[in-house]
């Protein structure tokens, strides 16, 4: 090991549904040590939980299995290790599907697969409440008992310790449940460089690297407002973190692919989903994003250095999803002349019919797409000239029946409403179940005592 040694952690997925080619391009571009794949957003766990209730072999990011089967031989020959939270609410089922699939894949040696369990608190909730863990809502202060019978999923955001254990056990593929997104990047760095668990500055630097990696192409030209016209996003290179032992790192991407890595794209991602930048809390440290220094080295290379951090807290965040009623959204398009006026009249007609039918909702929201819907702005002087306007009406209620009633009142507007209406293909709006999010905190030892790593060769 030399002082110049670097470890490369490539980002391959930024959410469940991201571009499936990206991780293949990361591996086939060569030179990477780790591939991190982030599949989980706040609401993803509850969706996976609903799938698992219907099918005990479901509840993880299904895309992940065929991806690994496709890449397995190259992971072995290239020495690339995968760290992912694809396990969702069912890491064991994800492992089982991988093992079954790998039986039909030729690799130079078996792959060692590790799964991490113990973040799932669903089966422990009543015991935790009885033991005095209130799991109060961090924002409202309300006790979990208010909604206990409506909880769908409950997972603690866990940190690097089980990832380190899995990598030390020689895992080629580490599959976790609700690992914090950033740990998928800093776990490998702590493992490779042997940083101490209380080396807060270096771990914080790894957290910043993880924040850059966790949204896929967003750090490499995706969504950039700086010069979006100039970036080729058809076949983009996703970000690669090239980290040094001192915690500093370079953000880059494979040459020959689209996308772009500049001070602007990296800074945009640093401020994305940011709260108080000095108080970025993770399970393994509190990072201060304000200390990061960003230097553009040219040629799609940007150095990030100077990151400072502080001690981890005694608490872990718990992500709880619970049933909170039903909703539906319906859309129609009105064309000029007077497109906006027609859409407004249609909304009046619709609301009158909802009233007449005696349907009651917790919320009805009308938006005029093309006329200021996104920011709730009036279209001002353009109002009379808009060539078309989308009428978008959403309703939400505690029970299903008024929402179903609403879905039957949209289509009649096509013949029994203002003129010049189109865009109604697709039939009645679908009733969706509303999953609300309940953030809470818990004593970390209660979770960490139950974390387990299981290793399988396949």
């Amino acid at each position: 090991m030399t002082a110049d040694r670097v470890v490369r952690v490539a980002s391959g997925q930024g959410f469940w549904g991201d571009w499936l080619e990206a991780p293949k391009l990361q591996v086939r571009g060569g030179g990477i040590d780790y591939l991190m794949l982030d599949y989980l957003a706040e609401i993803t766990m509850s969706i996976m939980q609903k799938q698992r209730v219907k099918d005990p072999a479901a509840g993880y990011a299904r895309d992940f299995v065929p991806l690994i089967l496709d890449l397995a031989a190259e992971l072995v020959t290239g020495g690339v290790r995968v760290v992912t939270n694809a396990g969702g609410v069912n890491p064991a089922a994800c492992r089982d599907a991988l093992v079954a699939g790998l039986a039909g894949v030729q690799t130079a040696r078996p792959l060692r697969i590790a799964i991490v369990t113990g973040d799932d608190l669903m089966d422990r909730l009543d015991g935790l409440l009885e033991a005095g863990h209130g799991l109060r809502n961090m924002e409202s202060g309300a006790p979990l008992s208010d909604i206990r019978d409506r909880v769908y999923s409950a997972n603690a955001y866990i940190g690097m310790s089980p990832i380190l254990e899995a990598l030390a056990a020689g895992a080629d593929v580490v599959v976790t449940g609700r690992s914090t997104d950033t740990a998928l990047t800093y776990g490998p760095l702590v493992h490779e460089f042997g940083w101490a668990a209380d080396d807060w500055d270096r771990i914080a630097a790894g957290v910043v690297a993880g924040h850059i990696n966790e949204c896929g192409a967003q750090a490499a030209g995706g969504n950039t407002l700086f010069d979006w016209q100039g970036v080729d996003m058809a076949v983009p290179g996703y970000p690669i973190i090239e980290a040094a032992a001192d915690g500093s790192f370079v953000v880059t991407k494979h040459a020959g692919l689209g996308g772009r890595v500049t001070w602007a794209t990296v800074t945009e991602q640093l401020v994305y989903e940011m709260g108080d930048p000095a108080d970025y809390i993770t399970p393994d440290c509190v990072a201060d994003f304000g200390t990061a220094r960003v230097t553009d080295l040219g040629e799609d290379r940007v150095r990030v250095s100077g990151v400072r951090g502080g001690p981890r807290t005694d608490l872990l965040k718990v992500s709880i999803a619970y049933h909170a009623g039903f909703k539906a959204t319906g859309s129609l398009t009105y064309a000029a002349p007077d497109a906006l006026a027609k859409a407004r009249r249609a909304d009046e007609v619709l609301r009158a019919r909802l009233d007449r039918a005696g349907l009651e909702f917790d919320e009805i929201r009308t938006e005029y797409v093309g006329a200021g819907a996104c920011l709730g702005r009036e279209p001002g002087r353009w109002a009379a000239e808009l060539p078309e306007v989308g009428l978008r009406v959403g309703v939400r209620a505690g029970s299903r029946s008024p929402v179903e009633g609403f879905t039957r009142e949209i289509a009649p507007l096509i013949l029994a409403g203002p003129p010049t209406v189109t865009g109604f293909a697709g039939g009645r709006p679908r009733v969706q179940e509303v999953m609300a999010y309940w953030p809470a905190l818990i004593d970390r030892t209660v979770v960490e005592s139950e974390l387990r790593v299981e290793v399988t060769d396949a």
Partner: protein, 127 residues
């Protein structure tokens, strides 16, 4: 001179529950102190009057020449509860850039050169 913020800065936005975050990044170092002066939480709140029901908090990131705003109560309840088209606040970043700011002409000229690709927005580094 009065110009839209887009002449001085670019931005990215995201969500945390019912709170939207809007990060505003200076196009050039010279622009940053003007952002700090012009972009008060009160002005940002009134710019987003159509969506923002709660308080606006501001954090300064001088190393990054950026400001981070938290717009509380702006996403219709957040997550899947929200009935909003933009329930994740994705458009708020672009949405802040038409806020009018009053800045010296020379600063605008420098930022224009950054946007035109004539000069870098940050000092270039070496490996």
């Amino acid at each position: 001179m009065k110009v839209p913020l887009a002449r001085l800065a670019f931005a990215r936005s995201g969500d945390k529950g019912d709170t939207a975050n809007v990060g505003v990044i200076a196009l050039a170092p010279e622009a940053y102190p003007h952002l700090v002066r012009e972009l008060t939480p009160a002005r940002v709140k009134s710019h987003f009057a159509g969506v923002c029901r709660g308080d606006v908090e501001r954090f300064e990131l001088p190393n990054l020449l950026a400001l981070n705003f938290l717009l509380h109560g702006s996403l219709g309840g957040g997550g899947t509860v929200s009935l909003m088209l933009d329930a994740q606040g994705k458009t708020f970043g672009a949405g802040i850039l038409d806020l009018q700011v009053d800045v010296p002409e020379a600063v605008v000229a420098t930022c224009d050169r950054v946007l035109a690709g004539e000069i870098p927005g940050r000092p270039a580094g070496t490996e």
